[in-house]
Every structure is written in structure tokens, then in C-alpha cells.
């Protein structure tokens, strides 16, 4: 049986609502080395942002996460990426992860498109040779061949989205995470993205967060409904999952 790319087991995540207390907790955590297998207690002004999350993703799957704002979708993917530490539980990551967010923060506006592509590919763990090999494909897919040497800050929102998506998909990830990453692109480019995801689906897993139900209907093989930091439904029946999630809005 194939090993899952991502295995999330009994994961909890807490946050603090007070900035000052959070700073003090941070200082305590720096010097606190002895861990425990028990669920940690909530300290003053802390709350559970995620509770008892269990999730597996394998190659060939497109898993959609649906839920209202504040349900914990982005927190969950940031934990899977390793940007947020786990408060309790375990996440196993077997492979390279690439991300597409609605607005990329990793691009440098005074650097050219091609310089930014090289940096972002390196951030996703690509080697120099790999980067140079896939550079023409990224430029062609994002349609910026004629503007590759122009400063990134001069690109339109659509161009930035195209570069962002192209780098992520051509970095050959094992898991592609899309968090509203196609929201600002035009219909034609969205179509192009969906087609390329479908074409490469068997080589990777996809974790898709969107408020656009059509994207789930077209791509998702499984749907997870989240509510107040918990998974309330996990189903292969996409239409049923969408109906359940939208009925709660």
C-alpha cells in the first residue's frame, strides 16, 4: 500500500488572544525543553484553534477543505507546511510541498520576474539544475516571456498570480497546497490551471481551499468540512459535502 504524502494524527493547535501574554509564553517556550505526550492545558487567554484533526492525503487525491472564515483551514495548512508548530499530535510529511496563496508574499518587487522565479524555486527545495531546466516551462505557462527581466513590482495582479502558480506546479511537488490561490486569476488562466492539475494529479496530492464551489466540483476527489477548528465531515460525495457546508452558512 502506498505511503500517504501527509499523515495528520490527533493534531491540536492553540493560540493566544493577548499579544503581551503571548510574548511571555514565547519566552517560556524557548527555555522549556521537556515535552509531554499529554494534551497541554490552555494557559490564560489561550484557545483551541484546531482540535483532534486527523487527515491523510495520497498521490492522485485532490482533497478540498471547506468551511467558513475562522474554521481553521489556513491554520491547518500552515501546520502541514511546518510554519506553525503543533501543540499536540503528529504530522508526518513525506515529500516536497509547494504552495499557492491568493497573494504571494515571497516575491521581491525590485527584482525581475526571472530572479524571483529562481528564489521561489529554491525556497521550494529545487536544486540549481532543476531550476534551470524548468525555467522555460514556467515562463511559458505564466506568459511572461517578454517581461521576464522587468521588475516584479511592475507586473499586474494577474501576472503575479500566473507566476506564483507556475512556480508551484513546475517545482514538481509531492503535495500542492492551494489556498484561494486562483481567486484573482481570469477564467482562461483558471481553466489552464485546472487542466494542468488534472494532468499531473497522479504524480502528486492536492490540498485545495477555496470559497468557489465549482473548483471542488471539478477537481476534488474528497471533501473535508471544517467548523470551529474541528473536522465535522469527510466525504467522497462532493455534492453532499458542498450541500452540508453551504447549509450551515
Amino acid at each position: 500500500m502506498e505511503e500517504p504524502i501527509i499523515e495528520v494524527t490527533g493534531v491540536y493547535k492553540k493560540f493566544c488572544t493577548s499579544l503581551k501574554l503571548n510574548m511571555l509564553y514565547g519566552l517560556y517556550d524557548i527555555f522549556h525543553f521537556t515535552g509531554s505526550d499529554k494534551l497541554p492545558p490552555l494557559r490564560k487567554k489561550e484557545f483551541w484553534a484546531l482540535q483532534d484533526i486527523n487527515l491523510n492525503i495520497k498521490r492522485g487525491e485532490v482533497v478540498g477543505i471547506i468551511g467558513m472564515n475562522g474554521a481553521g483551514k489556513t491554520t491547518l495548512i500552515r501546520m502541514i507546511m511546518g510554519a506553525f508548530p503543533v501543540s499536540h499530535g503528529q504530522i508526518n510529511v513525506n515529500g516536497r510541498i509547494s504552495t499557492v496563496f491568493e497573494r504571494s508574499r515571497a516575491f521581491q518587487r525590485f527584482y525581475s520576474g526571472i530572479e524571483n522565479i529562481r528564489v521561489k524555486c529554491a525556497l521550494f527545495g529545487m536544486k540549481s539544475k532543476e531550476v534551470e531546466e524548468c525555467l522555460p516551462a514556467i515562463l511559458e505557462f505564466s506568459g511572461i516571456e517578454n517581461f521576464a527581466d522587468a521588475p516584479f513590482g511592475s507586473y499586474s495582479a494577474g501576472m503575479r498570480t500566473r507566476v506564483n502558480f507556475a512556480v508551484s506546479i513546475f517545482s514538481n511537488p509531492d503535495l500542492l497546497i492551494i489556498d484561494e490561490g486562483l481567486a484573482v486569476s481570469d477564467v482562461q488562466f483558471r481553466r489552464q490551471c485546472i487542466d494542468v492539475i488534472k494532468a499531473r494529479k497522479e504524480q502528486m496530492g492536492v490540498l485545495l481551499i477555496s470559497h468557489n464551489m465549482e473548483q471542488f466540483e471539478e477537481m476534488a476527489t474528497r471533501l473535508i468540512v471544517m467548523e470551529k477548528g474541528r473536522i465535522t465531515c469527510e466525504t467522497d460525495d462532493i455534492a453532499y459535502g458542498i450541500k452540508l457546508a453551504t447549509s450551515k452558512r
Binding site: 514565547g26 519566552l27 501546520m79 508548530p85 504530522i91 508574499r105 527545495g125
Partner: protein
């Protein structure tokens, strides 16, 4: 990679820990070069002269010291080489040490935007900052050596020991920078105080004056300050001055190594627990 509440999969074994760090650096070579490229060029991206400022900035500093020296503002006491050469060299060595603190202390927080999209291995960022510190040191050092030659200083073969004897100073600079990169994530004010403290520390170390000072209090501070030995021995090697105080140097060097090992272990055991706080 295994992410849990207790660790990020770091081995507790000493040798395995260091093997893992070295492997992470090897794995991230491309990222290190890209980050270094950004660091070296970013501040000059919107300038007319571009990266030429990397050389122009130290030239301007040298000019300021030359003007100050020949106007007679400084009178530091007896030095084995012309004072202006002494001060330029001492300042380069001090900035080599302080540069590691400056570059590394903000290493984690300045990665915030990138970490949110691709949480790369922190080893890459640390190595990039160390390389940046070394490059920022070598450019003014080369210019200062030219000035020393112009001033009539003759270099001997023992000057080649200058670089290896600087290593303990580098380890202390890295240790302080890496330690405060963690503190800076949660408390900005501690970092600001230490940043100011570095300026004070420079005046408690024989950088702009020689070891032979009149004040008994300053003599005691100099004697027990490990930086005294870690700066004066490489400096003396380079300019061919008598090399003394080997005992003080070796004690300071061993302390530097122990501090470096402890801080790197501490950093990697803590950083991923608190890294989310830079996004607040």
C-alpha cells in the same frame, strides 16, 4: 519530516545532530546562494551605482578615519604601526565580530514573509547570514591592507595566521547573534538593548585604543574581557607585532567553542516552537 509538539525530529545524539545540520546545509545550497544574492543586492537595488556600493562604503569609512587621524583628533598612545592603520584594522576586526550579531540577530524575523509560504530549513538562513558577515568583512579588510602597505607596513609570513586566529571571534559573534535571533522573535526591546550594548562593549575592548591604558578599572575590564585576546592576537599576527597572552587567547577560544555548540543546540531545539510569533 515528523512534526510533533515536542520536536521537529531533531536527534538528541550529539554527532547525529551535527550531521543533520551539515546535511541540511548541503541540501539547501541553491537556496543559500539565492538568499545571499538577495541580501547582497537588496539594499543597493534602487541605487544608481548598484553593487559598487559594497566597495564604496568601506572606502568612505577609510577616508573618514584618514581625515580624523591627520587632523589630530585621536591620540591613542603608542602603536606598533601608524595609528590610522591600527584603527582601520581594529575596526575591521570589530565589525567582523559585531557584523555576525547584526546579521544573525534578525535572521529569523526577516524571513517571516518567506516562511509563511515555504518554511525552509533554518540552517540555510543561518549559513547565508554567516557568509554575508564574512563577505562584509573581506571587502574592507582588503582595502585596509592596501592602506597598510601604502603606510609602509611590511607583512611577514606569520600574517597568514591572521584568518585562523579569527575563528574563535567569529564563533562568539555567531553565538550571540543566533541566541538573540530567538529572543528578538518574542521581545524586540531586549534585542534593542543588546544592540546598544554592543557599542558599549566596543569601548570596553581595546579596539580604538591599545591594551596599555592608564585607568586601573579599564585595565581590569580589558584583562577579563575575552574579546581582548581574540582581537589583539590576530591583529598582532597581521601587522607583525609581538604576540603575547596566549593563555588568555586559548581560554577565550575554548569558551567560544563551548558557547557556539550550546547556542546552536539551543536554537534548533527552540526556534520551530516559537517561529509562528513572527507572523503576529
Amino acid at each position: 519530516m515528523r512534526l510533533t509538539s515536542k520536536s521537529r525530529g531533531f536527534s538528541l545524539g550529539f554527532f547525529q545532530f551535527w550531521r543533520d545540520r551539515i546535511n541540511a546545509v548541503r541540501k539547501n545550497k541553491q537556496l543559500i546562494w539565492q538568499l545571499l544574492y538577495l541580501s547582497l543586492t537588496d539594499q543597493y537595488k534602487k541605487t544608481l551605482l548598484g553593487s559598487f556600493w559594497l566597495i564604496l562604503s568601506p572606502i568612505l569609512s577609510i577616508l573618514i578615519w584618514l581625515i580624523m587621524n591627520y587632523s589630530g583628533i585621536y591620540n591613542p598612545g603608542e602603536t606598533t604601526i601608524p595609528y590610522v592603520g591600527y584603527i582601520l584594522l581594529s575596526m575591521s576586526i570589530w565589525l567582523f565580530f559585531a557584523g555576525f550579531f547584526k546579521h544573525l540577530a534578525t535572521a529569523v524575523t526577516e524571513s517571516g514573509r518567506m516562511l509563511l509560504e515555504a518554511p525552509f530549513d533554518m540552517e540555510a538562513k543561518l549559513v547565508e547570514k554567516i557568509l554575508l558577515g564574512i563577505i562584509s568583512f573581506l571587502i574592507p579588510l582588503a582595502l585596509n591592507i592596501i592602506i597598510l602597505l601604502v603606510l609602509g607596513v611590511h607583512f611577514q609570513w606569520s600574517a597568514l595566521l591572521f584568518i585562523p586566529t579569527l575563528i574563535p571571534l567569529m564563533l562568539i559573534g555567531i553565538s550571540i547573534g543566533v541566541f538573540f535571533s530567538l529572543i528578538e522573535i518574542v521581545f524586540n526591546d531586549i534585542y534593542l538593548v543588546v544592540n546598544q550594548g554592543m557599542n558599549v562593549l566596543m569601548f570596553l575592548t581595546p579596539v580604538v585604543y591599545t591594551n596599555n591604558v592608564d585607568s586601573p578599572l579599564l585595565q581590569t575590564v580589558i584583562k577579563y574581557n575575552p574579546l581582548t585576546y581574540l582581537i589583539s592576537i590576530p591583529r598582532n599576527y597581521l601587522v607583525g607585532a609581538p604576540v603575547e597572552d596566549w593563555q588568555g587567547y586559548w581560554i577565550s577560544a575554548i569558551l567560544a567553542l563551548v558557547l557556539f555548540i550550546a547556542v546552536i543546540h539551543f536554537f534548533f531545539n527552540s526556534v520551530y516552537k516559537i517561529v509562528e510569533r513572527i507572523f503576529e
